[in-house]
C-alpha cells in the first residue's frame, strides 16, 4: 500500500523503474541473440566438419567390410574390425567415438566404453527407417558416468547384405562449447555493466529533472503557507534554470500583489482609526456641552429645556451609531480579532440578561432562560458572543411586539446552539433574508421610534461569523413569532482555518 502510494506520488520512481525495465529487456534480448549467433556459428562449422569427416569414415568402414570379401563369416568380427579401424583413425585423444548398433539385436560395439544410450533413439529410428545418413546433437555417455556434449552422425551399413547395422560417429563439441561459454560469460558481464551504467545515467538524469520540481513544490508550499520571500536557486542557463527563473518571477509578482493588498488594508485600517479620532473629538466637545445644558435645563424656559433633553437623547443615539459604525468598519477591515477564553454559557447568557433586564422591564417584557446543556463551557470571545446575544434580544424587544422572550441553550456534538425566541408578529420569508442587512428596517414608517442604530443584527452576524458560526432565522413551530438561532463551535481550536 505504502509502496503503491509512493509509486503514484513519485514521477522519478516511475521513470527510473520504467527505463530500467526497458534497458534490462533490451540488454537481455540483444545478449541472448548474440550468444545464439555465436553458438550457431561455432557449432555449425563443427557440424559441417563432422559431416565431411563422417563421410570419409563411412567410406573407410565400407572398405573394411569389403576387405572381408563376399563371404564374411562371423559378422561380429567384421563389426569389431570396423570399430577398431575407425577408432584407430580417430587417434588419441579421440576426435570422435565410434558406436555400431545392429537393427536386429546383436551386441553393440563401441570405442572407449561409450554407452549405447549416447545415441538418441530418434536418430537410430530415422537412420534405419530412411536408410540414409542423419545427424543430431547429443551427449556421449561413458561407462564411468561422465558425459560430454557431442554431434552424433549416423549412417546405415549392411554387412554381407544380410544384416543391417548403424554406424554412429560421435564428435565431442566440448571445445566449441567452451568457446561459446567464454563468449557467453564475457557477454553477460558486459551486459550487466552496460545495464547498470545505463540505469545510473537514467537515475542521474531523472534526478536532474525531478529534483528541481520537488524543490519547487516544497518552495511553492512554503509560499502558500505565507513565506512570501522564498525563492528557487537558479543555476546555469538550461530549461530547468529558465523554468526556475520564471517560477521566481511569478512568485515575485504574487508577493507584490499581496503586499499591495496588505498595504491597502493597512491604509484602510489607519483611515478607520483616524476617522474614529477625528469624529470622536468633536463629539466629546458636543457631549460635554450637551451635558452641561442638560444639567441646567431646569433654569431654562420650557422649549429650551426640552431642546436640551432632545439634544442629550439624540446624542446618546449618535454616539451609539458612531460606535456601531466604527465596529462594522473595523470588522470589514479585518482589524477586529477574537480574544478567545473559556467561559460557561450559563454565566455568559446570564450576564447578557442582567444587563438587558432594565430595558426589558421598562418594555414590560419577560425573559425566560431554559438551559439544557447546564454546564457547557465554550472557548469564544465572550464579549463578542455576549454582544451578539444582546443585539438579538434588543431586536426582539424593540421590533417583535412580543410580551416574552425565551432563550434556549443546547449543545450538539461540538457546537453550542443558542436560540432567542419571541412570540410577536413574526417575519415574512422575504424579510427573513433581509433582516441582517445594514440599516434595514421591516417597517420604515414606525420602527425608527424605537431607536437603535440599524446595525445591531449586522454586527451580531459578523460576531458569530468570525467564530465560524452562523445565525439562522425561522418561524416558531406552533405559535406565531420568530426564532434567531446562533450556532457556534464549542472550541475555536477545532475550527479549520
Amino acid at each position: 500500500m505504502k509502496l503503491l502510494a509512493r509509486w503514484r506520488r513519485s514521477l522519478s520512481l516511475r521513470v527510473i523503474a520504467g527505463s530500467s525495465l526497458l534497458i534490462l529487456v533490451i540488454v537481455i534480448a540483444s545478449s541472448t541473440l548474440l550468444i545464439n549467433q555465436v553458438r550457431t556459428g561455432v557449432i555449425e562449422s563443427k557440424v559441417s566438419d563432422s559431416l565431411v569427416d563422417a563421410v570419409v569414415g563411412l567410406d573407410l568402414a565400407i572398405d573394411v567390410v569389403e576387405s572381408f570379401g563376399p563371404d564374411v563369416g562371423s559378422t561380429p568380427t567384421v563389426v569389431d574390425a570396423v570399430v577398431a579401424t575407425l577408432a584407430r583413425r580417430s587417434g588419441e585423444p579421440a576426435a570422435y567415438e565410434v558406436l555400431m548398433l545392429s537393427n536386429g539385436g546383436d551386441p553393440e560395439r563401441s570405442s572407449n566404453l561409450v554407452l549405447p544410450s549416447s545415441v538418441p533413439a530418434d536418430l537410430i529410428f530415422r537412420v534405419f527407417a530412411e536408410n540414409t545418413q542423419h545427424w543430431t546433437y547429443t551427449e556421449i555417455d561413458y561407462l564411468d558416468g561422465s558425459s560430454v556434449p557431442a554431434i552424433a552422425v549416423g549412417a546405415p551399413m549392411s554387412i554381407a547384405e544380410q544384416q543391417q547395422y548403424g554406424l554412429f560417429l560421435l564428435y565431442p563439441t566440448a571445445q566449441q562449447q567452451q568457446v561459446v561459454n567464454v563468449v557467453q560469460s564475457a557477454l553477460w558481464l558486459i551486459s550487466v555493466l552496460l545495464a547498470a551504467s545505463l540505469i545510473v545515467v537514467v537515475v542521474i538524469l531523472t534526478r536532474r529533472i525531478t529534483d528541481p520540481i520537488r524543490t519547487a513544490a516544497d518552495t511553492a508550499q512554503k509560499i502558500a503557507a505565507g513565506l512570501l520571500d522564498e525563492r528557487l536557486t537558479v543555476s546555469g542557463e538550461d530549461e530547468v534554470a529558465r523554468w526556475a527563473e520564471s517560477f521566481n518571477l511569478m512568485t515575485e509578482s504574487l508577493e507584490k500583489q499581496i503586499k499591495r493588498l496588505e498595504d491597502l488594508s493597512i491604509v484602510q485600517q489607519r483611515f478607520v482609526s483616524d476617522v474614529s479620532h477625528e469624529l470622536r473629538t468633536p463629539v466629546t466637545t458636543v457631549r460635554l456641552a450637551a451635558d452641561l445644558l442638560h444639567s441646567k435645563r431646569n433654569e431654562f424656559p420650557p422649549e429650551i429645556s426640552r431642546a436640551a433633553e432632545l439634544l442629550q437623547g439624540e446624542l446618546d443615539r449618535f454616539e451609539m451609531m458612531l460606535a456601531d459604525l466604527l465596529e462594522i468598519s473595523r470588522i470589514d477591515a479585518g482589524a477586529s480579532l477574537l480574544q478567545i477564553s473559556e467561559t460557561s454559557v450559563f454565566d455568559l447568557v446570564h450576564r447578557v440578561i442582567d444587563s438587558i433586564l432594565p430595558v426589558a422591564n421598562a418594555a414590560g417584557i419577560k425573559i425566560e432562560f431554559v438551559e439544557e446543556a447546564s454546564n457547557l463551557v465554550i472557548s469564544v470571545d465572550s464579549r463578542r458572543i455576549e454582544r451578539a446575544i444582546r443585539n438579538l434580544i434588543t431586536n426582539a424587544i424593540k421590533h417583535s411586539g412580543t410580551d416574552r422572550i425565551r432563550i434556549e441553550v443546547e449543545s450538539e456534538l461540538d457546537v453550542c446552539i443558542i436560540s432567542v425566541i419571541d412570540y410577536g408578529v413574526g417575519l415574512s420569508s422575504e424579510h427573513k433574508s433581509q433582516v441582517f442587512q445594514r440599516f434595514w428596517r421591516a417597517d420604515p414608517s414606525r420602527s425608527r421610534d424605537f431607536g437603535g442604530t440599524g446595525l445591531g443584527l449586522s454586527i451580531a452576524l459578523e460576531d458569530i461569523k468570525q467564530h465560524s458560526g452562523e445565525i439562522n432565522v425561522k418561524d416558531n413551530d406552533d405559535k406565531p413569532g420568530t426564532q434567531f438561532v446562533i450556532t457556534v463551535p464549542v472550541s475555536q481550536k477545532a475550527v479549520l482555518r
Partner: protein, 226 residues
Amino acid sequence: MSAVRVLVVDDDSALAEMLGIVLRAEGFEPLFCPDGGLAIHSFRTHKPDLVLLDVMLPGKDGVQICREIRSESGTPIIMLTAKNDTADVVLGLEAGADDYIVKPFKPRELVARLRARARREGAREVSALSYGPLSIDVRGHTVKKNGLTIQLTPLEFDLLVCLLRKPGQVFTREVLLQEVWDYRHPADTRLVNVHVQRLRTKIEDDPENPTIILTVRGVGYKASVA
C-alpha cells in the same frame, strides 16, 4: 486647600475650552497647552497636580510626552484617547500613564477619574512599612531599597503599599482597580497588568523572576510573605 491644578494638553481648542468649563464648574483649576511640542515646557512652568493628555497631538505624540513627564516627575497622568485598541492603550500605559479615558466620555466619568487621582495625591495614611530590602515611609512618600531611594509615581506607590499591607493575601485585578484606581465599575484590567510590570522593573532585582510581587495565575497578584 487650594484648587487642584489640571494641565490640559489638547490641540482641539473647542474641546479644551469645554473641558475648561467643566473642570472649573467642578472646582478644578484648568491650565492649557495646545501644542505637544510645548507640553513639557508648560508642565515645568506650571507644575500642575494632574495632567490630562490627548494621545494624538500636533508637534509631539502624547505617548512620547507621557514618557518625558514620567522621566522627571510622578505627577498623575490621565490619557485622553479616541482609540481603545489594545496596542494604543497599552503603549500609553507603558509610557507611564496612570489611567486613560476613551472619547467620547461623559463629564461625570472624567470628573470621577480626576477626583480619584487627586484624592490619592491629598489623603494618605500615616505609617511606615518595612518589607525585606524595602523600607517605605508612607507619609513621606519615599521608598528605599537597601538604603537607596527608588523613584515611584504616586500610583505605583499606592499599588505597592496596597499589596504590602497584607503580604500573602491575593488581590484580584478588579479589587486593585477599586483600591488603587478608585474604579466603581468593572474596568480595563490591563491597567493593573501594565503598572505591576512597571513597578516590578523598579523594585525587583530581576523583573522577569519577581520575588516581591508575585503573579497568582488566573487570579491576580500578591506580595510574597518574606
